[in-house]
Symmetry: C2
DNA sequence: CAATAAAGTTAGACTTATCTAACAATTTAT
DNA sequence: ATAAATTGTTAGATAAGTCTAACTTTATTG
């Protein structure tokens, strides 16, 4: 029943979740700062989300997610996290760039991709004692643009 | 000096590149179909891109990229391809979903991420005789949600 | 070659999301 | 407790991108 939200609306919902860290209610001014938009933009977004039953907000009061709103916000957050982990842990991208990219991509990634991405990160962290050797070799490759002889040899043997 | 293009404008440019397959000029109606927008939307986009010197287009005529427009279109296309290859070859996502996701994400991915993603695909295809064993194991993991004993054993030995 | 069809454009409406300016409520501090 | 500062809202403007309807140009074809 929940109409699909726009990227903007997803951002507003997500920010309420993040700023409230789960349970606390949140101020319009906080959201305004966090999202780098002016307060009237927040007001207007909240009116809409309130209408749709995703947030609780009375004039001049604090903002809170409804259970339904929380569900949506958490979904956005999961997409964000799947992307961020992948970008930092596997592609070895610096945390700021990764967070920035995740923020933008989180709105367009499909459920399938989100899930597989999460699985991939899980897979990489699964082997006992952290990341597997091939990942270290990839990170070396990122720096040198060349594979170590030893890796090639091993791959050949495996096939 | 080229102003950064919006997602929409990037799509228009990319579609000219794709439909022209490099050299041929393209019709408004083709773009309209390919992008699933009505012709007036294409007209208006072309007016803007023409203004900015990215496309060549005279009334009722065919559409062509300028060298500068081609540069931008190819950049978008490279982002698209980096994403698509990653999604299909590594995450094992079906071609349609992958292409769809790539179309949406291509507009928000940063240059750093695009490059590292491409490197990753390159890395995976580098070992002689195609994809390395760990990738096959990941694909198995996607289906079974469990790592084969043998893989764990090998990782342990390596560390 | 004239009639019709197809392709393209123009004009104008609508939506979403943003902003500024002006006003109103609430909080803080004197 | 009242003045000042902060916080929030309302109203209205603007920009991007889409659409429909009406019109124009180009192409097709009998």
């Amino acid at each position: 029943m929940e109409a699909k939200q726009s990227a903007s609306m997803e951002d507003y919902l997500e920010s309420i979740l993040m700023l409230g860290e789960g349970k606390e209610a949140v101020r319009v001014s906080q959201m305004s700062k966090a999202l780098r938009v002016k307060m009237p933009s927040v007001s207007s977004a909240l009116a809409k989300l309130s209408q749709e039953g995703l947030v609780e907000h009375k004039r001049y009061g604090r903002v809170q997610l409804t259970p339904e709103g929380e569900r949506v916000a958490e979904d956005v957050f999961h997409r964000h996290e799947a992307l961020r982990h992948f970008l930092t842990e596997i592609l070895n991208i610096d945390p700021e760039t990764a967070a920035g990219d995740a923020c933008k991509m989180e709105h367009t990634i499909s459920p399938v991709t989100q899930q597989k991405l999460a699985k991939f990160v899980e897979f990489v962290n699964q082997p006992p004692e952290g990341p597997p050797k091939w990942l270290k070799i990839f990170h070396h490759y990122l720096r040198r643009a060349k594979l170590p002889e030893e890796y090639i040899a091993r791959c050949l043997k495996e096939d």
